[in-house]
Structure formats: structure tokens, C-alpha cells
Amino acid sequence: MLALIPALPLAAVAVNLILGDRLGRRGTAFLACGAVFASFVLAALSVIHLASLPPGARTMVADVYTWMRVGDFKVDVAFLLDPLSSVMVLVVTGVGFLIHLYSVGYMAHDASFRRFFLYLNLFMFAMLTLVLAKNFLVMFVGWEGVGLCSYLLIGFWMDRPSAARAGMKAFVVNRIGDFGFLLGMLTLFAWTGSLDYERVFAAAPIVFHPGTLAITFATLALLLGATGKSAQIPLYTWLPDAMEGPTPVSALIHAATMVTAGVYMVARCHILFTMAPFSLETVAVIGAATALFAATIGVAQNDIKRVLAYSTVSQLGYMFFACGVGAFGAGIFHLMTHAFFKALLFLGAGSVIHALSGEQDMRKMGGLASRLPWTHGVMLVACVAIAGIPPFAGFFSKDEILSAAFASGHYGVWVAGLLGAVLTAFYMFRLYFLTFRGSSRLTHEAEHHLHESPAVMVAPLVVLAALSVVGGFVGLPFQEGGRRLTTLEGGAALERWLAPVFGEGGAAGASHAVPHLSFTTEWALIAVSVAAAAFGIAMASRAYAKAAGEPIAEKAPRLYGLLEHKYWIDELYDTIAVRPIRALGDVLWRFWDEKIVDGTVNGVAYVVEWASAVLRVFQTGFVGTYALFLTLGVAALIAHYLVR
């Protein structure tokens, strides 16, 4: 039954392929959305069933068949549902379904409508396989599958060369990450003799000595994979370019689901990471650095989708450093809430773009609040949520992360997180004011076509908005009886739900539980983070509410230039990696293949030719010379016998 969840989208892909155009637009839409909805229902049912199981034994397993068995290496295609993957599967299918619905409206008049949903369903299959995998190899299948789908979807509008290049960049950078993931898997197998989660995590404490090279290498390799997929510091450059794809794609893949795969993997291997303190520290540092770094770039972007892209990178940074400080639960919680409001932001931006028939530059927007009421409403909710204003979802998850960071003594990380929060609030509201408030800078014909998005697009927006508001309460510390919100102790509902997986208070995992803060510090932290958010919003409104220009550009042109050009990271990567490799290839081909190897071979041929030319000289044609050599030979022969 568990295997059905990924199988449904795959079946939809197959049907889509077989029936082809006979399916028609309506048919494709129903098929695609129906399949995803069905897997959502299935997922919900199995999660409910899972909840009914006693806390200790909350796992559902579905072994399908043995994929490979060579010598002592055995791996099966198998699926596992446990609290951690249940959260993921619900998010993926839920948000996924909403985005499918939205796409029906968004892509309504696109030529290759069917092909779009073909890829979307393929993506859902890959993502669900990744999330529900029971061993690393099946996860890797999903891992690369989503990489492929993101490549196809980014390059969906094929005739735009920039889209094709962005697609390729995404796939290659992901592939570098996958290389790391692969190495991590190989180390795990070499040491624990299996790739199955359960066996690996059981054998790990016995096989690996905490902090030794082996486990650090394995976890760092896995981390490289995670940074590749979740666009963290070294390998994040592909995500902003991935905005070339249609907006629903950005929403689904580059906000809600795929990019969170890295965080999920780190959370899944929390036992390994806690055994390698150095790696855990790296996760925290990378997370914090990315959070801050991406936030700064986000401030200076003019393309509405690029702002959101950098915002995603930054929020992922938060999730990473949540795991880095040991608060895996908080990380997953933020992952869930982020999925809601980030998807909402992207879809909202999508409906804005849809309304302005393709315009993405914020400098050509403004004053849309009145014209696009629904979009404006949901976007406002999303901005407030992401900024972290209570009672919205963003506040709860981000606050938990910051307090965990503070509690576990990572003060540097906490400060970075706080600064990030300020910047997040700032650029989100900059986006809000530039798009919805102020004077309308629309071009005439954009003005002319301006229309609110159809119902099929607005409905998912509203649902997501609701989730963004309600989502936070999952984290509230409900006691069994649901008593008033008095103390933050007792752990949030989600924490307790994830406890069996993360071992807080559950199994004797080696992971150090995050120490509980005293009551007063808890509240103090909440106040500080809310203040930070409010400060960010204030700064943004002062700068952008009324004035049309770009205040930062006037005050600090050089800084603004730096940020706008994304610190020239892309150009840096290009010069240190892409160009030298291509040059190396050229040198190897031109010099080594053509000169050296072929040179030697042709050289041998030339020597033979030269030798034969020399010998031809002796063929003078005069009988006399031949006779001379003949007798010379005879004389030599006789001499030989004389001497012997």
C-alpha cells in the first residue's frame, strides 16, 4: 500500500505518455491533479494509520523486490513511512497537489501543456521515492530523478537559450552534489556492510568511532550532496538561475519540495552527523553563512522571482543551521512552514506575473494592491509569515530555530540568524511595497491587460495562506489536553511526533538533546526576534512605501552594485572551474591526442617510408652492380666458413 504513493504519479506519467495528445487539456489536467490528489489521500490515510501505532513502533515498511544482489552487497526497492517521512510526504503531496491545481490555470494557454504535466508527475514520483525510501540507494534514485525533472522543467521553454543553460547548470551542480552523496553511500556501505537505514544506523555506533576520519568523511560527503540539492553555500548558484522555468515549477521544486531534500537527508542521518561533531559544526556554519549571505543578495534583486529564490536559499540556510545545532525537529518544522509560505509567495508572484502578462521586473510594477485584491491579500499574509511576526507560521518555526541556536551555545550562529531575520523582513516588505504599493510603473499595454487570476489559481493561494497562518500552531506546546498556552516546556506537538525518529527522550540515541532554556530567557528571545522582524519591516516601509527610487543605490552605490551582481560568484565559478576544465579538454585533445599519440603512430609510419626510400637507391637497374653484390655475398659466406 505504501508503494502505491509513488506509483500513482508514475502511472499518470505512463498514461500520459501512452495516450499522448488524445488526452486533451482537460484530460491531462484531471489525470495529473487526480493522481497527485490520490497519493495525497493515500499519504494522509497511512499517516493516520501510523499515528494509531504506539509511539515506539511508528514505522510502516513496504518491500517491493530485490533490486541488486552481488556477493555480500544486497539492496531492495523498499519504502518506509515513519514520523519524519510522514511530515515530508504530507508536505510534498499536499503542496504538490495545490501547485498542480494552480498550474492548470497558469499554463492554460501554453503550447506543450501535456508535456508540462508529464514532467510534473515524473517529479512527484521521484520526490515521493526520495522521501519514502527505506535505503540510501532508493533515495539516490529519487535524488537524481528530481535533479533530472528540475533540469527538464527549468528548460521547459526550450527556445530560450538562457533557460537551457540554466537547466544544464542546475543538473551539473546537482550532479556534483550527487557525487558527494555517492561517496557518502560508498563509505557507509564499506563500513556497515549495508545501505538500509535501519541497519546502517544500528551498525554505525559499533563500526564508527565518533569523530574519526571515516565517519567525518562519510558525513561530509553526504553534506556535499545536501548542499548541492538544497542550494547551500558552495553549490547554491544554480537556484537563482532556475527561475528561468515556469513559476509553478519554481514554487514546487525550488521552494517547497526538492530543495528541502537536502535538509531531510541530513535530518534522516542525524545519528551519523551527531557522531561526527566536526561535520555537525560545518552544517551549522554553512547554514548560518548561507542564511545571512543569501539574505544580503536578496535585498538588491529587482526580479521578483530572484528575490524569492535568494529568500529560499536563505531560509534553507536556517533549516541547515537548525540541524547543525542539533535541533533537527525545529529544522523539519521550519521546512514544513517554509513550504507553505514560500510556495504561496511564488504562486502569488506567479499570479502577479500572469496578470502583467510576463513582466517580472519589480521596477515596472507598483500599485497593484487595488487591482489584484486576492493576490495582494495572500501575498501580504505570506510576507508577514516569512518575516516571522506572531501568530503566523514563520514566527514559530524561526523562533524555535533561533532559540535552539542560542540554547546550544552557538551564539555566532544565533546572531547571524537574527541578522538574517532582519534582512528577510526587509527584502520581503521591499518586494511587497514595490509590487503592491506606491505609484504604478506599469507599461501601458501591461496596464491594459491587467486582470485578477482565475479561480483555479486563487483557490490554492487561499488554502496556502490559511496553512501559512495555521501551520505555526502545530509547533505549539499542546499538552495532551490542549491547555492554554502557558509554558513552552513539554515540547511542541511536532517535536513529540518526531521524537521517536530523533531520539529525544526516545531511543538511547547519542544525539545530545538541545538543553531547555529557562522560562524568562525563552520569552526574552521571542521578544528579540519579533523586534528584529518589526525593525526590518519598518526600515523597508520607510525606504520603499512612498519613494519610487532605490534608496540603497543612492546611499551606497558600490555596495548595491556588489549585491546586485551577486558578489560576482557566478563569474568566479566560471573562471576557476568551467573555463579551465574546458581548456584542459581542448589541450588534451589538441596536444595529446593529435600531437603525441597520433604523432608517434604516424612517426613510425614515416620511418618505414624513409627506410624504403633509402633502400630503393640500390635498385640501380644495372646488372653489373647486382653481380657485384652477389659475389660480395659469396665472398662473405666463404669468409664466414673460413673463420668459423
Binding site: R616, F618, Q619, G621, F622, V623, G624, A627, T631
Partner: protein, 103 residues
Amino acid sequence: MMHDIPLAWMLALSATVFVIGVVGVLVRRNALVIFMSIELMLNAGNLAFVAFSRALGSLDGQVFVFFVMTVAAAEVAVGLAIIVNVFRLKETIYVDEINLLKG
């Protein structure tokens, strides 16, 4: 006859004549003279044959000389025909002026 000539002397004579024939072939430019030197070499061979046949008391040597002669005759016939033709073609029978088979 009293006692015969020792074999070694005969062979020495045959060798000398053979060498003279070789020198003739190498030195002379006239194809015909070369031809004659070849005849000399052949006859040196015959002499050795007869000497051995005499020494070993078997007639095979002499029979062989007989065959050598037939071959020599055939060779001369064809050789001279060729020389005549070459003369017609090139007006010369000097060996170092004929290089039709140049490689």
C-alpha cells in the same frame, strides 16, 4: 695410364678457372664476354664434377656434366636471343647502359 692426377690439383684448377670466370663477369662491359665468362664458370664446375666422378669411381658425375651441358646450351640460345633483341632496341650491348629494370 700410370697413376692419375690427384683430386686436389683438379679442384684447385677448377677453382681458378671459376674465379677467372667471375672476374670476367664483373669486369667486362660487353654482354657477350660476360656470357663467355659464365660459360667458363660452368665448365669449371664440370671439371670438378668429372674429377670427383673419377675419384669416387661413380659415373654419376659425368652424367651430371652431360646435363649441365644441355642447360648451358639452352641458356646460351635464349641469352643470345635476348642480347640480339636488346641490341635492336638499344643499339648497344654494353651492360652498364641497359637499365630497363630500374627499381
